[in-house]
Amino acid sequence: MSVLDTPVAVQRVKSHRVAETFSRARELAIFAVILILFFGTAIKTPGFANITSVQQILTNSSLFILLAIGETLVIVTRNVDLSVGSTLGMSAFLVGEYYTHTYSTSTFHSNGSVIVAFLIGIGVGAFCGALIGLIVTVAKVPSLVVSLAALYIIRGILNLIGTGVQIEPTVIPSSFQKIGYETWAGIPWIFIIPLIAALVIAFAMRSFRSMRELYAIGSNPVAAQLAGVPVGRRVFTSFLLSGSLAGLGGVLFASEFATVNATAGTGYELLVIASCVVGGVAIFGGSGTVIGAGLGAILLQVINQALVVTNVSPFWDSALAGALILVAVSIDRFVSNRASLALRLKQGATRVD
């Protein structure tokens, strides 16, 4: 290939810059769509434009944002994690069980601490993620199959221990439930956690070498390996992080709903991937940002909310979300075609393919 003849550094900077411009444009575009939808709804239904509905949207989307961040880390490496919904359910359930076991019948409240609950949830998620990551990287089997199997196994184990068990709000201490409904400066706490996670990981994926390598793996796994990227270790880490974030999502699930049973988080996996796709994460890896994925998750919630308050039947929710996904993928395709064309034209003078 003639790629080797051109100065690699120049090429990398150029393609990097083009990719960055487009991804930023993508994030801005989704943000604009969110605003348009929100204010469009507000014009149609006067009572809508207030702080409560914003809080409602942020609260509803917070779990999906967390899962979408983790999923982005995995998808960027050209893998996929279908187990996030089951992992979230497992984590939420075990957090609930923890509070049930520390519940004291004499004082009528649980002696469990919030920090331990978080540690349990994240630990459960990290364990599940690590297991999937190990199988994917050591046995070198496709992640779609492994995580699909994990989806069944984790949910099955959860059913085994949790069928007929319902964690009630009474056993969950109010200090923990407050995370689900209290606000700080008008922002729900339950949204602040994903927000921090998104900002930290977005920064890391822009600036840290190890996280940049995730993009390299997704763009071309073989090339990344030949360039000295520890592919196995990085892919393992992305699964570990995805699992941990799903575990954290489980903790937030327990605090938001305060009732948990064995079906918690069922069917989230495809919604999460949909959020990523809407947010501009390429399904075959190599591009996309966590901010985009998070905005994608919010957009899906805004549509939901807008349909509820306007007189359009809420039954249209899924149909519109589906159409939105298709539109988003089509736009991505169009834009990336244009981008690669532009790139080729720019380099045409110095490079012959």
């Binding site: 199988i135 199959v145 699909l148 196994i153 030949l226 069922t266 899924s318 979300a321 996904i325």
Partner: protein, 351 residues
Amino acid sequence: MSTDVPVLDDQELGLAGARTGFGFRSLVRWEGMLGLLFIFDLFYGGFSTSQFFTKDTIFFAGINFGLIAIMALPEMLIITTGEIDLSVAAMLGLACATFGYLFEHHVEVFLAMLITLCVGAIGGALNGFLVTRLGLPSIAVTIGTLTMFRGLAEVILGTNEITNFGGPWTDIGTNTIPGTPFAWAFGIFVVLAVIYGVLLHFTALGRSIFAIGLQQEAAFFSGIRVKRIKFLLYLTSGVVCAFAGILYTYQTNTARYDAASGLELNVIAIVLFGGVSIFGGRGSAVGVFLSVIAVGTFDQILTIKNVSSEDQSIVFGLLLLASVVIPNIPRGYHLVRQRLNSASLSKRANS
């Protein structure tokens, strides 16, 4: 120094499918294992419950597993071309809702079936158009259409449930094929499986499907109409799933928008468990058939033993995991030995 350069084998270079010799041998072995699993099912079922070898078992296994089995067939072809269709169960739901709606509005049953199948064709064509003509990734497209089809089903029926489907057709849902203990769904599956098996293994189209899955560009340059074939596969997938939707309506005697919700992953899992490679280019109809039979029987045993369907999913997940990990064990062993050898060599060289 030179020993530090990673040795990439075919798998890591993404050429695993190209080693057809090895692939074929391992495939035969995998089908053999599925056959053994089925025999194990029979023994396990026979010894553990007295109700196993009865007509009811065969009938209910067909009812409980028939729809997944039917949807697995078009999915098999699509995965063999290296694509995926996640919208199958949603299409079943949409077909179910459409059929129920038409039935409620007193449309003639035949016409209603025809319209439902047309809806399936349109949905499948939409998938096919987006994947082939716009060149979009099938996993993203079919997640989108999955959401959309399910949504449209919800728009059509809302949370209504339509029941009491009378008429001569109810037999195909609730009775056996006359003279046999088999459910209609199972019979239809077997007929379709034979058709799909012949199509995949004994026709030019089938060879083209394998060729597309192995190396799409090479297939294109050797004159195979890649886009047209993929489009047709998605189209027929839509029709078959719509047909499964009609069958579902008659089996449960209800039409509801969330029919077969979440079954898409079961369908995919069955196909993969049958030895079809998720990367395309490898797989066989016999494998998928045996996978359906073995897993369906096992499910039925667990159902007889009152194990809930949720608990069965552990077993299913483990089987699925085994189906991808076990074929990789010889290669992994080889790789580890190679690494150990080179490590000891470099140690010797250093000392």
